[in-house]
Chain length 404, copies 2
């Protein structure tokens, strides 16, 4: 498997575009994205578990019932959530897109991201959809990627190439993350495309399995969004024998999918609102997978641990504290903790109690941009990893004045 | 019922003191507190549910098995948690205190608060306990209150007076809060004293019932401490007929207790690390009490809502979002939200969707120091209130560099 350029356009038959249509006042920021498969594609998606769901998710869920789709349309600047006319607007977005691209409205995935509870004006979308469709190209991924960003600083796109049944397959994706990131059974907006031939049922299985260890394991601020969605389209143009059951090909496809999703998870966490550091918590020795995941996520969610990492302070007591209140059944007298980065590794806690360590060495380790918190439990063999970011002044600044 | 001065010394027979003994380097900050009842007292306590428990809690729990105690000793600057010799040190603190006061070590409540995982040196406590006991007085509450503070800005003390069986009773308390505040079945350090005659069993029942709607409903940062503890001593010197069962007297006692604990809860939340505003979330119309509490706590815990309140931004979509992911079974299409403060009340959401409101009016409401977020559910008759604070630059600053 190797990384290739092109993002969501890397796979055969996928085109993308992004423009400024006028939802945002700032004309230099694109706000409408389109991804289209030239042929029919299997499609699968996972959605937020928040009871308050964006109207686009409800419409998309209906459209994906038959397991196929051809296009993804997504605006930023407005979440189209908690609006009385939300569903009507999301359906209008589908219809406008279908007409512009020449497909059925039921083959359109609709997504929106931005502020909640402000009516979304359909006029700029109606005016922009024609030019957007006309701009579709194999080079359109960076524009589409920019158009779905909100407070993201970095665009997030990646693609990989792999082989199935002698055929070269590609799988790529784009994501927006930043704030309100604490996915549960889904995540922020992530759009994945592949030319692999895979049945809708196996595509659903692949995606729903993968998100458990990837997007569900990241948190920026503990707030589970109302609009989280991960969508994958697979148009089969690679010509591989269609994947219709578990086996070697499915495993290879899962590996490619996981490479892309883990990369996007790390990119989303590293680009969390106001973040200066990517935090990774790797838990080993847990009694079971659920405990490992619970502990890892509790550590990356702890405000106190996040603030300590921002301050580059090896305050491991906060890690122990987060393990203790996680809800996982852990023998706290067997817990060990180390901090690791490109600058080295320093052990700070063994058997639930502190061990002497060099503060100088620890400061060097924590000065890096990617910090791994290694947690060793003494309860079994299960392991899990979670991703997050530090808590900074900038997070407060961004969110103290987001709407105005 | 009326408020009276004196805090934990307001009730008959209670003395207190606080000194700097040397646990903290800063000589101007007191770090060792003592509260003593001149006679035997019923005692009850609730503790953190964090699996990682401070050594003092384990020792205190043993001492309170018989339902009586005479003294509370508490140091700040070091939590005596995750230390190999923690228990030994906590027991030494009990013995030193018992010897200085002339009581049994089993009648001492031990508490510690501060950084986790750094050995606590017993030497300054051994040297300071004599002078501390000598300083005990009816005017000692402010000193004791200061000695248990960590990053608290405001001392928190209160007392009330009420009548039982024709006798005047008093109940007072002190608290420390600030950071790592997300109690579960207990809270930060809270010491309550009363001269009411009440049996250990009824005292336990009163305390464990009260904390469900008070200390368990506050959150500063979502981190449940390892050292949370609420203790109450009742020495019976008021001379009222001893409360040994439910009834009118028990109800009157519970009302006094609740007045003191709600006051302390609001004081802890308002003085949360870096806080500029007290947030109160009042939920009405919930299907049951558990749902009401879950929703109220989810709102005051939401980082995004907390940051919006700091920015005085009426971003009610974040409130809806927090309700939606709370885990409570809520009909989101019936939710209503208003913001209220001394400056007025503004309705922002009805039936799950936004209603037009004056941004100017909302800004005026949110500019106040105490903000109430009113949530109306359409699911039933249950109600609950939770307390928290805004998320500020100062929180990040305090916690980015706490240990060093």
């Amino acid at each position: 498997m190797k990384t290739v350029p092109g993002g969501v356009c890397a796979a055969k038959g996928f085109l993308a575009a992004g423009i400024h249509c006028g939802i945002r006042k700032n004309r230099s920021k694109k706000d409408l994205a389109l991804i289209v498969s030239e042929t029919a594609a299997s499609a699968a998606a996972v959605y937020t578990t928040n009871l308050v769901k964006g109207a686009p998710l409800i419409v998309t869920k209906e459209h994906l019932k038959n397991g196929t789709a051809r296009a993804v349309v997504c605006n930023s600047g407005n979440a189209n959530t908690c609006n009385a006319d939300g569903r009507e607007i999301a359906e209008a977005m589908s219809e406008l897109t279908a007409a512009a691209v020449g497909i059925d409205p039921g083959d359109v995935v609709v997504a929106s991201t931005g502020v909640i509870g402000q009516p979304l004006d359909i006029a700029p979308i109606a005016a922009g959809i024609g030019p957007l469709a006309a701009a579709l190209s194999k080079d359109g991924c960076p524009d589409a990627c920019e158009a779905i960003m909100t407070t993201d600083v970095q665009p997030k796109e990646i693609a990989v190439e792999f082989t199935l049944g002698g055929k070269t397959c590609r799988l790529g994706g784009i994501a927006k993350g930043s704030g309100m990131i604490h996915p549960n059974m889904a995540t922020m907006l992530v759009f994945l495309t592949t030319d692999t031939a895979v049945s809708p049922a196996m595509l659903r299985r692949a995606l729903s399995t993968d998100v458990q260890s990837t997007f569900n394991m990241i948190s920026v601020d503990g707030d589970t969004s109302t609009n989280d969605m991960v969508v994958i389209l697979a148009n089969g143009l690679a010509g591989n024998p269609e994947i219709t059951e578990e086996g070697e090909d499915f495993a290879a496809f899962m590996a490619a999918l996981n490479t892309v999703t883990v990369w996007l998870c790390r990119a989303i966490a590293a680009d969390g609102e106001g973040a200066t550091k990517l935090l990774e918590c790797s838990v080993a020795g847990a009694a079971d997978l659920a405990s490992a995941r619970t502990v890892a996520k509790s550590v990356v969610c702890s405000s106190l641990t996040k603030a300590a990492m921002f301050g580059e302070d090896a305050n491991w007591g906060r890690v122990l504290c987060a393990i203790g209140y996680s809800g996982a059944d852990v023998d706290v007298n067997k817990v060990g903790v180390s901090f690791r980065s490109a600058a080295g590794e320093v052990e700070v806690c063994r058997n639930g109690a502190g061990v002497p360590f060099s503060e100088e060495e620890a400061a060097k380790v924590l000065h890096e941009k990617e910090i791994c918190i290694l947690v060793r439990l003494g309860d079994g063999d299960a392991a899990a990893t979670a991703w997050g970011c530090d808590l900074t002044y900038e997070y407060v600044k961004i969110n103290g004045d987001y709407r105005t």
